[in-house]
């Protein structure tokens, strides 16, 4: 077996760049579920509401899911995975003192 190192190799950074971004996948799935529930919530029958202790639960949950979806997708686009890794990489290569005072 190959001995591994704690430092990031070029290979790892490159791999991270092509990593699936799970944040966008989560955001996408929650978004689709949010839209489906939004439909169910808008056309909720009285029986549906009565079942859920008088709450239009589909409508409320759909709003929460859509909000979560937007947040995940926004996070995925504002901080791509490759940025996080490159910043992690900096600490290993820069020749500044190891543990400096907390900012």
């Amino acid at each position: 077996m190959a001995e591994e190192t704690t430092e990031f190799s070029e290979d790892q950074v490159e791999k991270a760049a092509s990593l699936l971004d799970i944040r966008k996948i989560i955001g996408g799935l929650l978004g689709v579920y949010g839209l489906l529930l939004l439909g169910a919530g808008l056309f909720a029958s009285e029986a549906d509401k009565e079942k859920a202790a008088g709450v239009n639960i589909n409508l409320w949950v759909s709003l929460a899911l859509l909000l979560a979806s937007v947040l995940f997708i926004a996070w995925g686009f504002t901080r791509p995975l490759v940025d996080e890794l490159e910043e992690g990489d900096e600490g290993f290569t820069a020749d500044e003192p190891g543990t400096r005072a907390q900012p």
Binding site: T6, F8, L29, L37, A40, G54, N58, V61, G91, R100
Partner: protein
């Protein structure tokens, strides 16, 4: 009634989930280059991903059905599993133990034992761990089959085969990365299922106050609302255990044993991209974990007061294990119903996948590579890992039917843990903190401890010794296993030759490696400091214990 009237919308929600899960498997396959990618995600994942996977790996049938069953059966005292058990153990793992795991670059928990002790200890543990993981993944598979058959009317075997096939597909395709990515996704789906369910259930029973009033009038009564009341020696409490059994048996031995030595959990942290992320994995997981009791104990309590004859087991809907499915059927309309069933499927599949991905790693690295074929090329080990996955899933399907014999899944699983994890924890702690512990001391202790747990269970189930509840019997089994392991390890160690200190580098207290690596600028932020994160979790738990005393 548990049978739900699932609409096209609900089935669509379930189907979309399956498609996404398989898609992640295909996506993760593209990233595979080496065996380390397949078994440890190439040690490349950020802490928030490994942290969420760390919780989701455990958020399976055990948690969703078992903890709700405990909530209904034992009341608020169930929080001990979290606030005395899981949280302190997770903090300990992150702060104290992770440097030895991650810093020594071991690829599995048994591998640490091989380097610290010897091959017999390693082999014994690798085999018993492989056995334990398939048993626990079988519990999850069975739970999944049972719930789908009760709720959707599918046959149990159809449901088990479909779920097993999907898990098999995404793990053989993408290895651990695919398992972990799916676990993160599963965590959010489970939350989307349980948070609305608990909210609706609480509104229906008149809020927290209304629920408390109704619990006082139920069989549980006032003790059901407190965590510590009646836990004195000889006191009367629903758990049937006194505070020694609870704090030492459940808290110290079982929980620390589970969270710190169970490779299905530790593997998530080993896949993190650096030491800081590995240490933060269990700490990040600790925060959501603190509040999960609200999502599982409350449904248990609501089921107790709203479902007629709940706990009598006269029909599936009145069995303790089915508290959450019963509430889903009771409260959720089409739409949310689909999300909730998907949440259950996600939880159980996470439980299967976590155990199977740990199983294939241990079987490949610790059994195949160490004892059968060394120095093959990475592609060979990946191929073997895929075969091990198929075999692991196959055995899980068989073990699913063993789980059927137990009325409260949690009791069954705690029994397994008392066999496998409790003695292991003693062997680990002594090995990490006492350099004099010898290879054969470790081996003898581990065997003796496992035997001790087995004997306690035998004596209890034959009625030779009396313990108030099966759960308390498992606590005591764990204590016996731990003490016997520790005593035998120490005695045999004093009589045998220790390892040269040089061979213990990176493995024992005071000789940790990798902790002095320079932290990146972001990892030096105060809120990324493991000690700060750990202390924060402990403070919250202490406050909650006082509130619910």
């Amino acid at each position: 009634m548990l049978r739900i009237d699932a609409s096209v919308l609900d089935y669509a929600i379930i189907a979309i989930y399956f498609v996404v899960v398989l898609g992640i498997g295909f996506g993760a396959k593209r990233l595979l280059k080496t065996d380390l990618d397949f078994f440890l995600s190439g040690r490349s994942l950020p802490a928030w991903i490994t942290g969420l996977a760390f919780i989701a790996a455990n958020l399976g049938a055990l948690e969703v059905l078992g903890m709700a069953a405990n909530g209904a059966q034992y009341g608020v005292a169930t929080v001990h599993f979290y606030w005395i058990g899981a949280i302190p153990a997770m903090v300990f793992l992150g702060i104290v133990m992770m440097p030895f795991y991650y810093g020594s670059k071991v690829r599995s928990v048994p591998e640490w034992l091989r380097r610290r002790y010897n091959r017999p200890t390693h082999l014994f543990n690798a085999i018993s761990f492989a056995l334990a993981t398939v048993l626990i993944s079988g519990v999850n598979l069975f739970a999944l089959g049972l719930v789908l058959s009760l709720m959707l009317g599918w046959s149990i075997s159809t449901a088990i085969v479909i779920a097993a096939f999907i898990v098999l597909a995404y793990i053989t395709l993408g290895g651990l990365t695919s398992a972990i990515y799916n676990e993160v996704l599963q965590f959010f789906i489970i939350m989307a299922a349980l948070v609305p369910l608990v909210t609706v259930a609480l509104i229906d029973v008149g809020g927290i106050g209304g629920l408390a009033d109704q619990i006082r009038q139920s069989d549980l009564g006032e003790p059901g609302l407190h965590a510590w009341e009646g836990l004195g020696i000889g006191g009367d409490n629903p758990l049937g255990a006194n505070w020694i059994a609870t704090v030492f048996g459940l808290g110290f031995v079982l929980s620390f044993g589970y969270w710190t030595t169970n490779f299905a959990e530790v593997q998530r942290a080993l896949s993190a991209n650096n030491m800081s992320a590995a240490r933060r994995t269990p700490l990040i997981a600790a925060y959501p974990k603190i509040f999960i009791p609200a999502l599982v104990v409350i449904p248990g309590l609501v089921a107790l007061v709203t479902v007629d004859d709940f706990g009598s087991g006269s029909s599936p809907a009145t069995e303790y294990n089915n508290a959450i499915p019963a509430l889903i059927a009771e409260y959720l309309p089409s739409g949310m119903l689909g999300i909730a069933v998907t949440g259950l499927i996600a939880a159980f599949m996470a439980g299967v996948a976590a155990n199977v991905s740990a199983f294939n790693t241990v079987v490949t690295y610790d059994l195949y590579q160490d004892y059968i074929r060394r120095d093959a090329d990475p592609a060979h080990y990946i191929r073997f890992g895929r075969i091990a996955t198929v075999v692991g899933i196959g055995i899980s399907i068989l073990t699913a039917f063993i789980a059927k014999g137990y009325d409260n899944i949690m009791n069954y699983v705690q029994l397994l843990f008392s066999y496998f994890n409790a003695p292991l924890f003693a062997t680990f702690i002594i090995g990490m903190f006492w350099r004099r512990a010898t290879p054969w001391g470790g081996f003898a202790g581990l065997v003796a401890g496992t035997f001790g747990a087995f004997m306690t269970h035998q004596l209890y189930s034959r009625g030779t010794i009396e313990i108030a509840s099966p759960l308390a019997a498992d606590f005591w089994g764990a204590i016996v296993a731990f003490v016997l392991d520790a005593v035998v390890t120490v005695v045999v160690s004093l009589a045998t030759q220790p390892k040269p200190v040089e061979e213990l580098r990176g493995l024992v207290w005071g000789m940790a490696e990798g902790t002095d690596v320079k932290l990146s600028r972001r990892d030096r932020l105060w809120w990324r400091n493991p000690k700060v994160l750990g202390a924060g979790a402990i403070v919250i738990v202490i406050i909650l214990n006082i509130i619910f005393i």
